[in-house]
């Protein structure tokens, strides 16, 4: 028991500076980039759907993002992705900021830019912690989707993610997550999306990842394979 406790403390104390990326595959992390850091990511999947995300860290405790993606779908009954332009704001605290062993926490809000008929507002609270070679993320997300006058209201869903950095391959990260997204078609609702893949830190400032995503109600054959590149530029 004592050995377990000592190991747990040792693991908790291995946490270094927060890794910079604010997402795993779909789920957000609580990592906040250092003061003045800018980052960007762009992805392309085998169906030709794209996503781009640009962010800037404010004062080491917040981050503002602008982006566009095809994550949300409209199913009537066949599903088609919807291009959604979004902005996000995250406010949080780094690991160990308030006490030793504290996970990083972040409160984020994402909103659709403009006033299109189909809009999504999301708020999430997520905690992240480096535990030895693993990074664990868990949180809850409130999703409010509206399609014209149809507004079913806020739905709360969990989110979880895991990143593993094998000690033998420090530039490689195995990633996996589950999160919920809004889905249109009829009354707006939500659907789960699970993702897994590998990220390779090819450059000091850049990484590339190959991910697979599965959605609720889809067979394995409809899974999406995507490539994403990430860049982080510290001031």
């Amino acid at each position: 028991m004592r050995r377990i406790a000592i190991t747990a403390i040792a693991i908790a104390r291995t946490a270094a500076a927060d890794p910079p990326l604010d997402h795993v595959v779909t789920a957000p992390t609580a990592w906040l980039p250092a003061d003045g850091t800018a980052y960007g990511s762009a992805s392309l999947d085998h169906r030709g759907e794209t996503a781009i995300d640009l962010g800037y860290a404010l004062g080491g405790l917040a981050e503002v993002e602008l982006g566009a993606d095809h994550d949300v779908r409209a199913c009537e009954p066949s599903c088609t992705p919807i291009l959604e332009e979004r902005a996000a704001f995250r406010l949080g605290a780094h690991q160990d900021a308030w006490f030793a062993g504290m996970p990083a926490i972040a409160l984020g809000v994402r909103a659709t830019i403009g006033t299109p008929a189909r809009r999504v507002g999301e708020a999430y609270l997520v905690a992240s912690r480096v535990l030895a070679f693993a990074r664990v993320h868990a949180g809850v997300e409130a999703i409010d989707a509206g399609d014209g006058a149809s507004r079913p209201g806020v739905v709360v869903r969990p989110l979880a993610a895991l990143e593993l950095v094998p000690p033998q391959y420090p530039k490689t990260t195995v990633v996996g997550d589950i999160a919920w997204l809004a889905r249109f078609g009829g009354a707006p609702g939500t659907e789960w999306i699970a993702g897994w893949g590998v990220r390779y830190q090819a450059l000091r400032w850049g990484s590339i990842e190959l991910d697979v995503r599965h959605r609720e109600g889809e067979g394995l054959a409809q899974s999406t394979v995507m490539v994403r590149v990430n860049g982080v530029w510290a001031r």
Binding site: G59, A62, V64, L91, G121, A123, D144
Partner: protein
């Protein structure tokens, strides 16, 4: 032998006299703006320091002119010193902002300091707020508001009326001016120009009294009350918030407030609560034609430079309904400048 000794003493005294103006030109430690010294022959100087200056202030070897190949005779004038380097600009004091995110603060801009805030949000809102401090006791500004909303009927979604231009005048007393622990107190008045939108004319006015207090160096709180008025005219509507047949006096009074936390020197977390008028053009109940709706905002202000700040955050209108769908992410840039103040000071 005696004459040679006297000559050496005279050379040393002459050298020391030559060093005095150069040493004065170095200024007082920590005082980048040396005060003019009337008694100084060179015209540059500094106020006498209360304590003996540390040795690094004016080390004679650093400021002394290069040794002449042959020392001048004692009766000859001292060599003129090298021109003193220009003192570094004195940093301007920090400015306590007149607005949290939406709610006004009990802090006024310093005299002749200009403040400009421009922002965008995801709902298409544009805000521009430009102010100038007047004599450390007042402030004048002109702004475009992004908080005034309208909607067709009670069930429809509210939309912004833009641009909505208003002028602001605020006057008050700085923090701790009258007595220790006195909060900053500001009485403000904001009035819009008449705005014609979809055939309806509207106008707003707001009288605020707000108190702001620093709690240590890393926190501050703001609390105030606003007395609102608004009018709406068009088609069959002619109503105002001060129309007692439609609204009670309490419909015009609303509290507001905010909190500032500074975890890092250049970063401030801001949270505020405020109200803004909302007009309803097709509402049949007169009481619903003009309403004050609450708004919650939170965000961060980051000081990029002494004169520039970036502000970003989230604003949720109609927070009482918890409509996450209407949440807006905003980004703003704030510029402040003491240039006018310095120009005025130079004229004095």
């Amino acid at each position: 032998m005696k004459r040679r000794h006297a000559s050496q003493i005279a050379i040393v005294i002459a050298g020391a006299l030559a060093l005095i103006p150069a040493a004065r030109g170095q200024g007082t430690p920590g005082d980048p703006y040396p005060q003019p010294d009337a008694g100084s022959a060179s015209g540059s100087g500094s106020a006498a320091p209360p304590a003996p200056p540390p040795p690094e202030v004016a080390p004679p070897p650093e400021v002394a002119p290069p040794p002449a190949p042959s020392p001048p005779p004692a009766s000859s004038p001292a060599p003129s010193p090298a021109p003193a380097p220009k003192p570094p600009a004195k940093p301007d004091p920090k400015i306590d902002m007149p607005v949290v995110l939406s709610a006004p603060t009990g802090w006024l801009l310093p005299a002749a300091v200009i403040y400009s805030r421009t922002g965008l949000d995801t709902g298409g809102g544009v805000v521009s707020d430009n102010r100038v401090g007047l004599g450390d006791v007042a402030e004048f500004g002109v702004s475009t508001l992004d908080q005034i909303r309208d909607k067709e009927d009670a069930s429809s979604a509210a939309d912004r009326i833009q641009p909505y231009i208003a002028a602001t005048f605020r006057m008050g007393v700085a923090e701790s001016r009258l007595f220790d622990a006195q909060p900053g107190l500001v009485l403000g008045f904001r009035k819009s120009f008449e705005r014609d939108d979809s055939g309806f004319k509207s106008q707003i006015a707001e009288l605020t009294l707000v108190a702001s207090k620093h709690l240590g160096s890393r926190a501050a709180v703001h609390f105030g009350a606003a007395f609102w008025d608004a009018s709406l005219q068009g088609e069959a509507i002619d109503t105002s918030l001060h129309d007692r047949s439609a609204h009670a006096l309490s419909d015009q009074i609303r509290p507001f407030g905010g909190v500032e936390l500074r975890p890092f020197e250049r970063s401030v977390i801001l949270v505020d609560w405020s109200y803004a008028p909302e007009f309803c053009y097709q509402c049949t109940a007169t009481k619903d034609q003009i309403r004050l709706v609450p708004e919650l905002a939170w965000g961060v202000r980051y000081q990029v430079a002494d004169w520039m700040y970036l502000e970003s955050g989230v604003r949720v209108p109609e927070i009482q309904n918890a409509k996450l769908l209407d949440a807006e992410i905003f980004g703003r840039v704030i510029f402040t400048t003491w240039a006018l103040r310095h120009a005025v000071d130079r004229l004095k």
